[in-house]
């Protein structure tokens, strides 16, 4: 963090913020295909500090509209977070609009220019002259360096109010907000901690999950530290978001943790993670625990299953190899699936999935083999095997288990659900 023209009040404790407004800036967020999701992360960070989000806005790259939105926000809440519009181009107007509203001239900050120039130089490139705009900051501003991009963050106090400007890309925004929280916000917020814990569930519908936990909702509402729950269904899984507010983070965390354990008892093995870990990470942790290596034979999932497993850091400890046998001939030549099985049962069948799982397990010389074969669509379906039919097998020493599924949705949804089902079959196998 670099201080620029430190105002007399900086460093001294400032006003405490109870409510905030979030303004997402970017014309692309006013189109038909993108939503602002940065505000979810910002809300989470603010809620932990006890700061409530009073409202959110999305405005385009438009000086007039953004100016009106910032003025309105400053009139209604103590703390305004703007994200986006800090890039180097003519579209990026956030700096200028906020400086104008606060009546503070922009001046070039040499430290920022140098940092941006160095960033380009490290990639053997010259800094384009337009990037100089990113070094223009209003007077009396705290500057936050951006290790992941060129736009610095800016904190501007204005009486007992404040405006925070953050870059739009999430990987730049997230670490920067963490620094802002630590260096400024943690001492200027009500501190009534809100703690959230996510239980992830697979293998049952939203309604059946709701039925299993409904009586818990009532119990939690009456508890000394009340826990609230939001249920969210996404493809092939249910998330239960449990939150509690208490005087200390520890008390709030204890309440949500106890609630998570109750959910786990209510839904049994269907709860695959009580701490938000994704399924591929849970499977990876189980493989490490059992000291197993895994190999995969994919058809309809086209590499997605292996890609998900290898998204986990350290997965080279247990992922040996995979074969994506998209063509039938590849199933025979690469995995040793007998042609007669394909002729008799069809390429999408449990016998073929079993031969794929056992074939890849044997050839890769690992503990666990997985075979997935199916029809991702949109074409290729038949009356007895419609689009979405997927056969999955998991082969271990001495035992192979297989199952056939019928998923609904387009190509990407079938691929996603099939990879989720395969990971879950592996998980349940490893828990036996």
């Amino acid at each position: 963090m670099v201080r620029v023209n430190v105002p007399p009040s900086a460093g001294a404790p400032g006003a405490v913020f109870e409510r905030a407004a979030i303004i997402a800036v970017g014309s692309e967020l006013l189109g038909t295909s993108r939503v602002d999701t940065n505000s979810l992360f910002i809300t989470e960070q603010l809620n932990v500090l006890g700061i409530e989000v009073a409202y959110k806005s999305v405005v385009g790259d438009d000086r007039v509209q953004l100016g009106a939105a910032v003025r309105f926000a400053l009139d209604h809440v103590g703390f305004v977070v703007c994200c986006g519009g800090l890039g180097p181009t003519d579209d990026d107007v956030t700096r200028e609009v906020v400086a104008e509203i606060l009546g503070r001239p922009l001046t070039e900050h040499e430290g920022i220019t140098t940092r941006i120039r160095d960033r380009f130089a490290s990639r053997h490139m010259d800094m384009p002259s337009i990037n100089r705009r990113q070094a223009m900051v209003p007077a009396d501003t705290l500057v936050f360096n951006n290790p992941h991009g060129t736009a610095p963050g800016l904190w501007i106090d204005e009486g007992d109010r404040a405006v925070l400007l953050l870059p739009g890309p999430p990987r730049e925004l997230k670490p920067m907000l963490a620094t802002v929280v630590e260096s400024i916000l943690s001492s200027r917020s009500p501190h009534r901690s809100l703690v959230t814990q996510v239980v992830r569930i697979t293998g049952r519908t939203e309604s059946h999950t709701e039925e299993a936990v409904q009586s818990l909702y009532r119990e939690w509402a009456r508890a000394a530290v009340p826990v609230s729950a939001t249920i969210l269904a996404s493809l092939g899984q249910i998330e239960l978001h449990l939150s509690a507010r208490a005087g200390s983070p520890a008390r709030a965390a204890a309440a949500v943790k106890a609630a998570a354990l109750q959910v786990s008892e209510a839904v049994g093995l269907d709860a695959y993670s009580l701490d938000g870990r994704p399924l591929e990470q849970v499977v990876g942790d189980l493989l490490v625990e059992r000291q197993f290596r895994i190999a995969l034979a994919e058809s309809c999932t086209g590499g997605l299953l292996t890609s998900r497993l290898t998204d986990v850091a350290g997965s080279s400890r247990y992922v040996e190899s995979a074969v994506v046998a998209y063509a039938n001939s590849a199933k025979v030549s690469l995995l040793g699936v007998p042609q007669v099985l394909i002729d008799q049962h069809g390429a999408v069948s449990e016998p073929v999935a079993i031969a794929m799982a056992e074939g890849v397990r044997a050839s890769a010389r690992v503990d666990l083999g997985v075979g997935v074969t199916g029809i991702a669509g949109p074409s290729g379906g038949a009356a007895n095997k419609p689009v979405g039919t997927v056969a999955i097998a998991v082969a271990l020493s001495g035992s192979t288990r297989s199952q056939q599924f019928r998923f609904v949705g387009d190509r990407e949804r079938v691929k996603r659900q099939a990879s989720q089902a395969a990971l879950d079959m592996v998980r349940r196998e490893l828990l036996l």
Copy 2:
């Protein structure tokens, strides 16, 4: 549609709306897990009519905040759409807040009450008395029936401005908006269609793209049909969103199409798609055109490259198979990479990438082989080969091209950028 206290002006042509604001109402939309997506659908419907969305807001179930938001919206745009907060409970304050701002008393509309009572009766239930609140409407309001729920929609003219209240659940909102468009908006919108086209670019930074097209921006702004542009950088690619408004969809489309061609000239081969097609689709289309089949040998990308290629419907026409050789031994046994190459150059090196590409091309007997080997991190880096180092090779009959990259970011970002670079190398090879 039922007219309540039809105002003298109704039926006569009213003001034409050029800009709208969308206000999503509901405290759940200010939490950490849900975003407003209704506005995407509403935006789509409005854009087709030539109505631009000037900004969007999300407010909680809070009279003061919602009142301020509606007042602000009415001050800035001609047409305000509120969605949500029309339910029967105390939380649902949209009707009352809007009535108060417009200074129109709420009165019970018997037709609505009857309809809600009938709805409950058809399910053998009595109407709970709280549902009577949903029949309270401001004076001079057009009422839209809700076949999918209890909350009717309300259209309120106020001078040359108007407020539309829609229920929050998408399956109630969507058909109702269609009715509103047909019965009112289609005759009160500019009809100047807004057409958007997306140019996708890879192989250069946002700033360098901007430099190449900046002079075009000025030209487009002065054109008979002005074209506006928004530039968006994401991992390994740049998107340029071009939009134009004109009297007819065809004229607007012609303007953005011409602009897209100018961009394509300015950045050359770096523009990989002028019509929004993703890179994997562009590569697929080129493979079909050349009647080539492809096989892939992946290491650090862990199946992601093949998964992206197979996300495209019909990809079984050109994707033969893939090998994910995560362990070094798998590179030797599955792809025939000579152990001596790995010993001499390291597993992450252009010679190994070349051997992988040529090995998989030969064993799968296809036209085109791709090899990707790298260090996705977070561990495994060395001084001369840090995390993010990736070697990629593309083998065709008689020629193999290879390149080494250094990507920045965490594991998933390195995987993503490596898959993007590999697809782009294949694309450029197919264009030769």
